[in-house]
Structure formats: structure tokens, C-alpha cells
Symmetry: C2
Subunit: 229 residues, 2 copies
């Protein structure tokens, strides 16, 4: 029962297979190779070994599937992967592209307790937007990005000034809509253009341009440096 600790590479193969086994084609050698950035021949070799270890069911030329043992491991690792990534992005404020490889490296060393606590901390900050806002400010100030800075709601942000989203002070459908558009605490936002009558406004966030009502923008707290164009 007490199998030898699996190498991080083996854990990654299982994670990839889990992910692909949820697609219609199942987990095929070529796809695994693409996902893991290795040659197909490497995958063939790995699958044979995984099969011998009882972690996958593998018949050459067929899609591979996880055994119950393999699935257990894969789900454990995939769970840690998402916990790590969420923590890195939501709490530490990393970009998705930076968070992804770090999460996939650290997942092999994180214990279940570590992953659990990271998720808990991300939940904690979600439940306490005031604290999250303070933490975001501390982050911003630590970066020289920031200096003093001024706080306001988004509808009061001058055109062209980059601002840090501190919180979204509204619940329900509107909040969900904003979050879907990528407006979340910690991201940088800019008002690009205000319509002639002052409404709607066009904002830029994470490289996307989107438009919203002034009344909606009033629910978003932001922090920015006055003075700079």
C-alpha cells in the first residue's frame, strides 16, 4: 500500500492524463507529449512504466486511462495545482502566465496542509475585502509603483490614469459580471474614454477593453497616483 514516493515527473504525467481523459478523444500519446512539452517517444516510454506501476491502463496505440490508484494521485496533484495557482494569483498577485509554471513546480512539494491553508487564506481575503484592500495597498507601496496614492471609486478616476482595483463593493449579478470581465481586486485598470454625456465609460483591464455604466463603476474602489497624466 505504502508505495514509494512518486517523482514529480510521474505526478505530472498523471495530471496530464487526468486532464486529457476529460476530453472526447481521451488521453492520447501525442496530446500528452504536446501538453508536457516532450517528444512522443518519451511519452510511450513513460506510459509503459506507469502501466507497470499500476497507475494507468495502457495498451499500445490506444488512449490511456487512469487506474483507481492513478486517479487518486492525479486528483490530489491537480487539486494542489489549482490551490497553488489561485493563491499565487489572488493573494500574491501574480499574473496567470507567471503563476502557472510556479504552481506546477511547487505542487510536488506542497503537503495537503499547505494547499489547504493557501485555499483558506484566499477564501479569507475574499471574505474580508477591507483587509484585502489594505494588503493590496501594501503590495503596491512595496513596489515603488505606488507611493502615497489616493483612493476613490472608479467613476472618479481621471481618464488615462492607471489605478489598482481594491474591491468591488456590490453583490449579486453585477459583481459576477464585473468579475467575469476580469475586474477583480489587484488588477490594474484604466479609463480610456468617457462618452460625451459621461456615460458609459470605456475601461481597459488585463489588455481587454470593455464598457460599463458610471453607476456600475461607482461600486468599484480603486487607488491611483494623482498628478500623472
Amino acid at each position: 500500500m505504502d508505495r514509494e514516493r512518486l517523482s514529480s515527473r510521474v505526478e505530472d504525467y498523471l495530471e496530464a492524463i487526468l486532464q486529457l481523459s476529460e476530453t472526447p478523444q481521451g488521453a492520447r500519446t501525442g496530446e500528452i507529449a504536446r501538453l508536457m512539452d516532450v517528444q512522443p517517444s518519451t511519452v510511450s516510454t513513460a506510459l509503459k512504466s506507469l502501466n507497470e506501476q499500476g497507475l494507468v491502463d495502457y495498451t499500445p496505440y490506444d488512449a490511456v486511462t487512469l487506474t483507481p490508484d492513478g486517479r487518486r494521485v492525479a486528483e490530489e496533484i491537480a487539486g494542489r495545482h489549482v490551490a497553488l495557482r489561485r493563491f499565487l494569483m489572488e493573494v500574491l498577485g501574480l499574473d496567470p502566465e507567471d503563476a502557472e509554471p510556479v504552481a506546477c513546480g511547487m505542487e510536488h512539494d506542497a503537503t495537503p496542509l499547505v494547499a489547504e491553508r493557501m485555499t483558506l487564506l484566499a477564501d479569507f481575503f475574499r471574505q474580508h475585502p477591507g483587509m484585502m484592500a489594505k494588503w493590496l495597498v501594501a503590495r503596491q507601496e512595496a513596489r515603488g509603483n505606488g507611493l502615497p496614492g489616493v483612493e476613490s471609486s472608479l467613476d472618479e478616476l481621471p481618464q488615462g490614469v492607471r489605478a489598482l482595483v481594491l474591491s468591488i463593493d456590490v453583490e449579486g449579478a453585477l459583481r459576477r459580471r464585473l468579475v467575469e470581465m476580469g475586474v477583480t481586486p489587484g488588477v490594474l485598470i484604466t479609463v480610456e474614454r468617457v462618452a460625451p454625456l459621461g456615460d458609459p465609460i470605456a475601461v481597459e483591464v488585463r489588455g481587454y477593453r470593455l464598457s460599463m455604466r458610471k453607476a456600475e463603476a461607482a461600486n468599484i474602489r480603486v487607488r491611483w497616483r494623482p498628478g500623472l497624466a
Copy 2:
């Protein structure tokens, strides 16, 4: 200049050498082997390779030293190691024995930004004891350890009840003394014995027994479950 990314094993050797080079004997093969839990012959092999990569200066049978390049890498990794460990212990509440191996594994995947933000978050919680206390409660409640719970100062904690240290509400020498004794936010503490006249009291924390004045204990906020012996 743009040397190939170093393996985590190479980074660990450099970290160990840095640590040992601060001892009077310097970094000797046998000590490196003990620290890294490998055979001396393995270390000899590694040192030869490290020497060829220009990371250490190594003459057989002599203590090895870091080159400027090697020292740069070693200090970078050692810095991440302590940042990770501090974060895992202070923020996530892991025991030192649990935090150590996790930190030494994750240090190889953490980017400088990740380490910096983790340190910043630990600093942030230190500067905001009220938030730290709330986070500690969230942690405790998530564990089923906890359930509702009651808050008081340590001098009001009944004998034999395990309590969570929330904060130390005093500055200066007394605070430092308590921290040195291992009384820090997040640890579990028990009052073992109260002297006949109610002062001093004997407390147990992290497996150590120590005694303190009631007046001192009054500065420590704790949280515990009433009812249980």
C-alpha cells in the same frame, strides 16, 4: 553569462556549501554529505562537477569554497529558503519540522517575486495584529479543532485547556522575551500549574515548559473552547 538553468540538486549543494562555509572548519565533503543525506562519494562527484561549472573552487581533500558565481546562486536560494520557511510558519502556521522540507523543495520553483511577496505578506500580518488574530481564528475554525471558542487574555485561561495564541499586546523587552520563549501568534499554549498565590503560572508551549508572571500573561490574547477540562 546566461548559464543554463541549474538543477535543484545543484542549488541544494551550493546552499549547503554556503551554510558550512560559515563554520570554522569550512565546507568539507563529509559535512556536506551529512547535511544533504547522501554518501560522501556522491559529494566528491558533485564537487568535481560544480568545480567544472565554475561554481566552486575545489581541490581534492580540501574544504571547498564558493566562487563569486556560486555564491550569488547560493545566496539567492538561501534567501528564498528563509522567505518560504517564514511564510509557511508565520502565515500558514506550519510546524518548523513540516515547514523545513517544504521550503527546501519549493525554493527551486519560487521566483524572486514570489519570495518577495511572501515576505511582504508575513510583514503585513506582523504589522496588523488584529488581522492576524482574525486569520488565526479562521484557521482554527477550519480545522474542526475549534468551533465557536472564546477569547481572553492568558491569565484568564483555565488550567489544562489548550488555547491558541492570537496576539501579544505589548512591545519592547517583554515582547521579545515572550517571543524568544516561543510564545508567538498561532502557537498552542496550555496553563499547566498555577502557584498557590496565583503567581507565577507555569505554561507549556511547543513542548517546552516555562513560567511567567500573571501580569505578563495578561498581555497575551488567547482563544479556547470552554467546557473541555
